[in-house]
């Protein structure tokens, strides 16, 4: 066991996967000698050589398109998109190609590949270094979407994503890269995709969250506990395919639900959770479901701390559903 930050756990996971499987390769902008702008790929070129960890031209479309061709031909590409905000030139390759290849060829061709990308706010990155694009991608049939929130999960989920037979978008909460630390096993291990993590048990209010919002929700729950409200916090970890049964069970267990994400509200992931609960277990609900989200605006810079859901906004929602 080593005590690692989330970014170190990602780095460790990449190294473990590359040691285990000679077909894996890492590429993207600045991932080579520089080791990535966040240092996720530090040391990879030194250890595995330029053939297995290399810089590409500045073209996300090219990065993902070539990854698909490699994946369809026996390699395991792990492509980095420097910020999720810059993934959109590759939207076509991801949505029209990687995600649909298995379906449109009846399984003759597949694209087992991982797209790693930092997402989310909290670094004063303004409109284009802060966005959370999980809703676009969870809306894309054929693509898996994974978001870790702890170092342990980051490594285990990443290796599971690399081993997965389908394309996986692996979104890394950059606000947590260096702000969370935790025990991470040495060597290879996996955390199964499409499983939930219970962050905190509680009988009063269930809070669904993921990524950088998890520690925010934990703080709000700790404060709520002081006034006797016990929260059941569920870290979704894999947004697509989601453990739907697990979500419904967790919702039923308290009958009061809050969802939290930093992405905009309209058509956001919280809407899906809310609809799923309404369709299946509404008879167990004691209060309307509350969503705490970013606003339906682009992501501001100076005022980002008002845009991002904070402990106070989450706590307010917890109290509201509890006292309903």
């Amino acid at each position: 066991m080593a005590n690692l930050t989330l970014i170190q756990a990602v780095n460790d996971g990449l190294k473990a996967a590359m040691r285990d499987d000679p077909t894996t390769l890492v590429f993207g902008e600045d991932v080579g000698p520089k080791g990535g702008v966040f240092l996720a790929t530090e040391g990879l070129t030194a250890e595995f050589g330029e053939e297995r960890c290399f810089d590409t031209p500045l073209s996300e479309d090219g990065i993902i398109g070539t990854a698909i061709g490699m994946a369809a031909n026996g390699l395991r590409p792990i492509a980095e998109i420097q910020f999720q905000d810059f993934i959109f030139p590759a939207f076509d390759q991801i949505v029209s190609e990687a995600a649909k290849l298995r379906y449109r060829s009846g399984g003759q061709y597949t694209a087992p590949m991982v797209i790693r990308t930092p997402y989310g706010g909290g670094i004063r990155g303004g409109l284009y270094h802060s966005q959370s694009g999980e809703a676009y991608f969870s809306h894309t049939p054929g693509l898996k979407v994974v978001i870790p929130s702890t170092p342990h999960d980051a490594k285990g989920l990443l290796i599971a994503a690399i081993n997965d037979p389908d394309p996986v978008l692996f979104m890394e909460p950059k606000a947590l890269y260096r702000s969370v630390k935790g025990e991470v096993p040495e060597g290879s291990y996996t955390v199964e995709l499409s499983t939930l993590r219970t962050v905190r048990e509680g009988k009063d209010v269930t809070v669904f969250c993921y990524g950088a919002m998890v520690p925010v929700v934990e703080r709000a729950a700790a404060t709520a506990a002081e006034s006797g409200i016990e929260c059941n916090i569920v870290d979704l970890r894999t947004l697509m395919p989601l453990d739907e049964e697990g979500v419904l069970e967790a919702a039923k267990s308290t009958g009061r639900v809050v969802t939290v994400h930093e992405a905009p509200r309209f058509c956001g992931y919280g809407a899906e959770i809310s609809a799923m609960i309404a369709e299946n277990v509404i008879e167990y609900m004691e209060a309307p479901i509350r969503r705490v989200t970013g606003f339906d605006t682009p992501f501001p810079n100076t005022l980002e701390h008002h845009y991002l859901p904070d402990e106070r906004r989450v706590l307010d929602a917890i109290e509201a559903v509890h006292s309903f």
Binding site: E29, F54, P89, T297
Partner: protein, 373 residues
């Protein structure tokens, strides 16, 4: 002009390589020199502010001043700049007040974009059309083509200047921009500032072409490589390209060969990947030193004049930074305004909820009783 040899008028010491007639008047030459010093001063202050934790981010510009100032000096009133984030030298040369730029650097309430964008993501309409900067690389290149086409449709003789880096040539926007411009014969000049790096990626990882300029040939337009540290050469080449554009002959790609002497940004540590010998090589080709040499050979320079300029610029910039730092941040309502022309109901409600919570928790500021939109 051979696209593989960089066109250059003055040598490393600023001496004419051969006899030429300078297109810039004495006053214009001195203005260019002042602007280049201004870029360096603005740059220095921003880096210090960032190091001191007073602004979040900046983009160093040392080494590339001649490309930006030379290109800006070639523009006429009414021409539009479609810049990248490294182009604040163009804004300074075209007369944007430093304080306006610092309002963006501090993201305060007097910033035209209300602190929504990161530092160095400027947007100006006056005194020059300096199109709102976007972080995604290359997106503005076809936009410049559309603007140029609009000038033609409106019967105006303006041209558009689209500026981007060597890395930008790999973007989809570069391809579609150049392709469209050539087909539409749009009055646009593409300025590729080849500063050696796209963050940590050298040109060898960016293209297999022997130059960036040569790419123009396949798109069906002239491509010219110019010595980007020679402000006179940049000015001349860009002026000629703008002339072509205005006279209906279509677009030109100019590759300005220069060098980024600092990091990519204040978040970058270039010592990890930039070889020191290369920096020494380019330090000897410093654009300010070269123009100084040329001015001196024309009796247009004196040490006292430069000292005075440097002192005045740094005092002006320091005062502008101080003024901007003292400004209040944007109001909360600016999170919700400018998403659309008028505020839709759902955004009004989201804004009201922010104030409602603040009121209930007892920390709404005076006057924040109702959502002010």
């Amino acid at each position: 002009m051979d696209s593989n040899e960089a066109y250059s008028l003055i040598d490393a010491d600023g001496q004419p390589r051969s006899k030429f007639t300078c297109a810039l008047s004495d006053d214009e030459l001195k203005r260019c020199f002042e602007s280049m010093l201004s870029v360096r001063s603005f740059d220095d202050i921003c880096i210090k502010l960032q190091r001191g934790g007073r602004i979040g981010f900046s983009i160093p510009n040392t080494g590339v001043e001649a490309t930006q100032v030379g290109a800006a000096a070639a523009l006429r009133d009414g021409d539009h700049i479609f810049p990248s984030y490294r182009d604040f030298g163009m804004a300074l040369h075209k007369g944007v007040a430093a304080v306006e730029m610092f309002h963006n650097m501090f993201g305060n309430g007097r910033d035209a974009a209300q602190g929504r964008q990161m530092p160095v993501h400027f947007s100006f309409v006056e005194p020059v059309h300096f199109f709102s900067i976007s972080s995604p690389i290359g997106t503005h290149i076809p936009q410049a083509v559309g603007a140029a086409h609009a000038f033609t449709m409106r019967g105006e003789s303006h041209a558009a200047l689209a500026s981007f880096g060597d890395g930008g040539t790999s973007s989809c926007g570069f391809h579609s921009g150049l392709n469209f411009a050539a087909v539409m014969k749009a009055p646009v000049v593409f300025l590729c500032q080849n500063n050696g790096w796209a963050i940590s990626c050298p040109s060898s990882r960016q293209t297999g072409s022997e130059s960036y300029a040569i790419k123009a040939k396949a798109y069906g337009m002239p491509g010219i490589k110019v010595d980007g540290n020679d402000v006179l050469a940049v000015h001349q080449v860009v002026s000629e390209a703008l002339e072509r554009a205005r006279s209906g002959e279509g677009p030109t790609l100019v590759e300005a060969e220069t060098y980024r002497m600092g990091g990519h940004s204040t978040s970058d540590d270039p010592s990890k990947y930039v070889p020191k010998e290369i920096l020494d090589h380019w330090a000897a080709l410093d654009p300010i030193k070269r123009l100084r040499g040329y001015l001196e050979s024309r009796d247009l320079w004196a040490q006292e004049w430069e000292d005075e300029l440097v002192a005045r610029l740094s005092a002006e910039h320091a005062a502008a930074a101080k003024e901007a730092e003292a400004e209040a941040p944007p109001g909360l309502e600016t999170i919700f305004s400018d998403v659309f022309e008028s505020l839709p109901d759902h955004l009004r409600k989201q804004g009201e909820a922010v104030f409602d919570l603040a009121r209930r928790k007892g920390d709404a500021a005076a006057g924040e009783g109702a959502f002010p939109l």
